[in-house]
């Protein structure tokens, strides 16, 4: 028997009803009476002293009401604010700007046109200062200081390491084969189609309502309370419909704080919505990791040790929303799907004159960087010893019986079946056939490549022993209330930005409560009503909130069983929950449904129980979950132009129990496209003067439907042993796994020319240059 809309069904999404009618409620859709707008004048310099601000012409613009500077904020001790990594960053600069595009002065105006005119009319004098862009140069003793306000007079932020350094060195030293590679993973910006914004509004009693593009409304509320001194119960954060988050809507941006200040000062609601250029130039970046790595193997292809050193370019403040104990996020998942005996990872964070941030691009807290590194290295080991890359992987994978598996860098992987996923991918793509075709093509001088990526992900932050953000433990919550007519309202501490929680959470509850999904309404995002949670990012919602939903539902079932027993005039132990009913054991026709119980909870409560039927659970996950997959990419290179054509891309993912196959597949498609993007299209760079390249969609190349291949998906299912329904997260797996598959394919194609590496994004000119240098183009 199935319940309508239960776990495992491709239920059509409930939220679509409003979106397909254009009735979504995004931040910029919000209009409040008397609402004002703010815009910012921003710095053209990467590093400069502000010598004078001349607001006169801006204030003369009709409709402009006020100007807010860093000095104004400083008077209220609001010029600086904490970051989510316990660093500090400016709201507005008091006297020095730190990156090109930084907000310098806010203009408050009656409408967005006047605000734009005001920002254009603002005159600011600057005295340029020496700029630090290269993090290696930033670490030199003679480098200009990005943060002279810090006690440690250096651009070095932190050092973090894990693993056995001496043991790894020794193991590599005696390994038959050691492959060394350097990788630069360029800076990216996730650029959700909706940019960041807010509407800040104080009521007559001084209560703040903050409509805001945030993936973590409760944590943000607490941060606002701590920073502003407003009592936390006087702050309401409402995260309405969000047009994509991917990590970019986790940090606190200056615009939010300035909007609150402007609302307080003017007594009017104030809206701030950033433009796309603002977004690309100043909202949280991702990546910017300079990685140098050594991987060891025996001559017959058994991996031995792994040593990785990374310089992490954090811009002028470490504002990455990492768990506090992990400044390099979960980068140390880098041993991946392989049982390295020894491994050592060290990461050093560095300040430069760029915007702050670090992990905002669907990256699972630096897992994209880790997976790229290990999967590229493994391919290069295979090439070096002349072994097929699939064969090398199959030879080395952590076998299913080794789980729970303790990695050399301290993780306990819950479950995995890596060979299962790779074998399926190989079958879907006819791997032996492709290798035969490749051999033929090579004889004809054609460049065809096959690339594999067999990644292990780590999601579901996180167990309280290891995980916190600014001290807030990373539990997650679900609160369920069942009404007398058998309808359900469930609220969560997470916040969907497109992941479909209104549907998938309803499906979990449908199965656990025995009520159809249509009877279950899901709410998130209003901190006045939703239970406290840490939000949605890093693929944590299904592992944590999904579990909380199950546990809360089972608490309700426990109480419901007592009520059912009362109705059936038996004792609760005589009942079993079967076929979505409370049935008398051995007498199945004597049963009560959850709907029966719900009505009785208010009209005929069991003696000794309270009226009502509700429960809340704050779930502390016992471990992370470890989804995994194998991707295979096939490319053909146009010798005349260097263009890479992705002929096929097969993605086999395993995220444990699947709640809604259609939703999961949609996540995979989207994530793969966000893996393609950094591999071949997107990057943000800065020249030596700190000028940004990639500040608009003219140069920041977001793939269209023409660049995106026809993705093919498959799945295996290896449940998580510790999750109440065996589910793992999935949203970021494809972004994590895809880049290496694509780049491995490109390098594989060019390997007959002796190529062992290529920098991402792989633009045609890079491939052409190789072909030209080798006399092919």
């Amino acid at each position: 028997m199935t319940i309508h809309g239960g776990i495992g069904q491709s239920l059509a999404r409930k939220e679509d009803a409003r979106f397909i009618r254009g009735k979504g409620n995004y931040v910029d859709d919000i209009q409040l009476p008397g609402m004002l707008y703010i815009d910012f004048t921003r710095s053209p310099y990467a590093h400069a002293k502000i010598t004078a601000i001349h607001p006169e012409n801006a204030l003369k613009v009709p409709g402009v009401l006020a100007v807010i500077t860093g000095k104004d904020l400083d008077a209220a001790k609001l010029a600086w604010m904490p970051t989510l990594m316990s660093d500090t960053q400016m709201v507005l600069p008091i006297d020095t700007v730190k990156f090109q595009g930084q907000e310098v002065v806010a203009i408050v105006a009656e409408n967005r046109y006047a605000a734009a005119d005001g920002a254009a009319a603002m005159e600011i004098d600057y005295d340029p200062l020496p700029v630090v862009i290269d993090p290696f140069k930033a670490l030199q003793p003679d480098s200009p200081l990005v943060r002279p306000d810090k006690p440690k007079k250096s651009n070095h932020i932190w050092h973090w390491e894990v693993g056995d350094k001496a043991g790894t060195d020794a193991l590599l030293a005696k390994s038959d084969v050691v492959v060394h590679q350097d990788f630069y993973i360029p800076r990216l910006n996730v650029s959700s189609i909706e940019t960041c914004g807010c509407v800040a509004s104080f009521d007559a009693m001084g209560r703040l309502t903050m409509y805001m593009t945030t993936q973590a409304p409760h944590a943000i509320r607490t941060v606002f309370a701590l920073v502003s001194g407003l009592p936390e119960q006087s702050i309401r954060v409402i995260s309405p419909d969000i047009g994509g988050g991917f990590g970019g809507k986790v940090p606190v941006y200056p615009g939010y704080v300035v909007a609150i200040v402007a609302a307080l000062k003017t007594g009017h609601p104030v809206k701030w919505v950033e433009t796309r250029m603002n977004n690309l130039m100043s909202s949280s970046f991702a990546r910017d990791y300079h990685i140098t790595a050594d991987i060891g193997a025996t001559k017959d292809g058994k991996l031995t040790g792994l040593k990785v050193k990374t310089i992490a370019d954090h811009g002028y403040a470490d504002a990455a929303a990492n768990p506090s104990k992990f400044p390099a996020g979960l980068f140390h998942i880098i041993t991946g799907s392989y049982p390295f005996e020894k491994a050592f990872v060290e990461v050093d964070g560095v300040y430069t004159n760029k915007p702050p941030g670090g992990i905002a691009y669907r990256c699972s807290f630096r897992v994209t960087e880790a997976a790229y590194t290990i999967e590229r290295l493994v391919d290069e080991v295979a090439h070096k010893i002349g072994m097929d890359p699939a064969e090398l992987r199959l030879k080395n994978f952590i076998p299913p019986e080794a789980f729970p598996y303790h990695s050399a860098l301290g993780w306990t992987y819950d479950s995995g079946n890596y060979a299962g996923a790779l074998n399926l991918a190989m079958k879907m793509v006819d791997y032996p056939g492709l290798r035969r075709e490749q051999a033929e093509k090579r004889k004809q001088g054609e460049f065809m490549g096959i690339g594999i990526s067999s990644f292990t992900e780590i999601v579901g932050a996180g167990p309280s022993a290891q995980f916190d953000i600014l001290g807030l433990k990373m539990f997650e919550s679900c609160e369920i209330r069942i009404h007398p007519t058998g309808k359900v309202m469930a609220r969560f501490g997470t916040k969907s930005q497109g992941q479909g929680h209104e549907t998938t959470y309803a499906q979990i509850l449908a199965t656990e409560l025995g009520l159809p999904a249509e009877s279950i309404s899901i709410e998130e995002g209003d901190t006045d009503t939703a239970p406290y949670g840490l939000g949605t990012y890093a693929s944590r919602s299904t592992p944590t909130a999904g579990a909380a939903a199950v546990i809360a539902a089972r608490k309700i079932r426990d109480k419901a069983q007592k009520i059912a027993a009362h109705l059936l005039e038996v004792s609760p132990e005589d009942l079993e929950w079967k076929d979505y009913k409370f049935q008398v054991k051995g007498v199945p026709e004597k049963s009560k449904t959850m709907a029966d119980v719900a009505f009785a909870a208010y009209t005929n409560p069991a003696p000794g129980t309270e009226a009502g039927l509700e429960a809340v659970d704050y779930y502390d996950p016992p471990n992370m979950t470890f989804p995994f997959g194998s991707y295979i990419c096939v490319v053909d290179i146009d010798k005349g132009t260097g263009q890479v054509h992705i002929r096929r891309f097969v993605a086999v993912d395993d995220c444990g129990t699947i709640i809604n196959p259609m939703v999961v597949e949609g996540q995979i498609h989207g994530g793969l496209t966000m893996g393609l993007a950094p591999a071949m299209y997107e990057q943000i760079t800065y020249d030596a003067g700190g000028n940004i390249h990639g500040s608009s969609f003219l140069d920041y190349l977001v793939p269209t439907a023409v660049e995106a291949p026809h993705w093919e998906t498959g799945k295996t299912t290896t449940p998580s042993p510790h999750h109440p329904i065996g589910a793992k997260g999935v949203g970021e797996s494809p972004t994590v796994g895809a880049p290496a598959a694509i780049v491995n394919a490109i390098v594989d194609a060019l390997s007959p020319l002796g190529v062992t590496s290529i920098d991402i994004p792989v633009y045609p000119w890079k491939v052409w240059q190789i072909l030209h240098d080798k006399g092919v183009a």
Binding site: R42, A116, D117, M277, T641, D699, T704, Y763, P764, Q769
Partner: protein, 294 residues
């Protein structure tokens, strides 16, 4: 830096070309023609351009057409790019323009953007200028002193600088009428759909009944301050039935004619290499479309 909202200006939508010219004259140097607006408005939103007067010429009747006269293909200046692309005449008889038209920007921009705009704006990345150069097109412009005709090859002076006087408006593009034995091709390499070309090549050929080239035009997009002709490459093809060796040679000549700058789209050598490859391929395709058979 502010963007998205253009600065203030006065908008006019005159009903005749002469009215439009009068408006351009009234604010000399500070008035701009608005046709599709898909190049001008984005610049104004970024506040990189701020004309005080916009003269919308798309309300002028009879300026949008795709027809043939006795000796030319006549394109009205305000013909939308998608109307050009949808034209059966273009698709069947003018393959060079048919190729180029679907490579301009993206499908939505093409619903507003016009032939005249793409021809006159002066961005070295615009696609139609190279096609006009390769086909030997002429532009009919009207100004305070009346009409004049400017050959495409005399039209492009520098990036964003054309032979148009500030009060002149292009009214018609005249492309030599297609004859039997004509064939053309436009090949464009870009970083992604919608981007300007890394490099693009326009080839227009006329063959005699034996398949020998009698006339050739080759022009390049976005590898110089304007679209540029590759006259030596074109001259090389005349009197030839191009072999693979000829294609290689003409490609090299076109690459030599290119004047690319290094930028985000790639280094100089690479762009020359692309010109070479695309020229080889476009010449082969144009020749085959013109009826050439090996």
């Amino acid at each position: 830096m502010t963007e998205v909202i253009p600065p203030e200006f006065e908008y006019h939508a005159p009903g005749t070309v002469d009215e439009a010219i009068g408006l351009l004259q009234s604010t000399p140097g500070d008035a701009k023609v608005l046709a599709g607006g898909q190049s001008l408005l984005p610049l104004m939103k970024l506040r990189l351009a701020g004309p005080k007067t916009l003269v919308d010429i798309t309300r002028i009747p009879k300026l949008s057409y795709v027809t043939e006269s006795a000796d030319c293909l006549c394109l009205g200046a305000t013909t939308r790019i998608n109307d050009l692309n949808d034209s059966e005449l273009i698709r069947t008889r003018y393959p060079l323009l048919a190729d180029a038209g679907v490579h301009i920007a993206d499908p939505l921009v093409r619903n507003m953007g016009t032939v005249g705009g793409n021809v006159c704006h002066g961005d070295p990345g615009n696609d139609l200028p190279a096609c006009m150069l390769a086909s030997g097109a002429k532009y009919v412009v009207r100004g305070p002193k009346g009409n004049r005709t400017i050959a495409a090859q005399d039209f492009y002076k520098d990036s964003y600088v054309t032979a148009l006087d500030p009060s002149e408006i292009l009214t018609e593009v005249q492309v030599p009428k297609a004859q039997p034995g004509d064939g053309g091709a436009y090949l464009k390499m870009h970083r992604k759909v919608g981007d300007f070309a890394i490099a693009a090549v326009a080839v227009q050929l006329r063959l005699d009944s034996h398949g020998t080239v009698t006339q050739a035009g080759i022009a390049l997009t976005n590898v110089g301050p304007t679209a540029i002709l590759a006259p030596q490459a074109a001259a090389y093809l005349v009197k030839k039935k191009p072999t693979d060796a000829d294609l290689l040679a003409v490609g090299k000549l076109a690459a030599e004619a290119a004047q690319p700058s290094a930028d985000m789209r790639g280094p100089v050598d690479f762009k020359r290499g692309i010109v070479q490859t695309l020229t080889q391929r476009a010449v082969k395709q144009a020749w085959e479309r013109a009826g050439g058979k090996r």
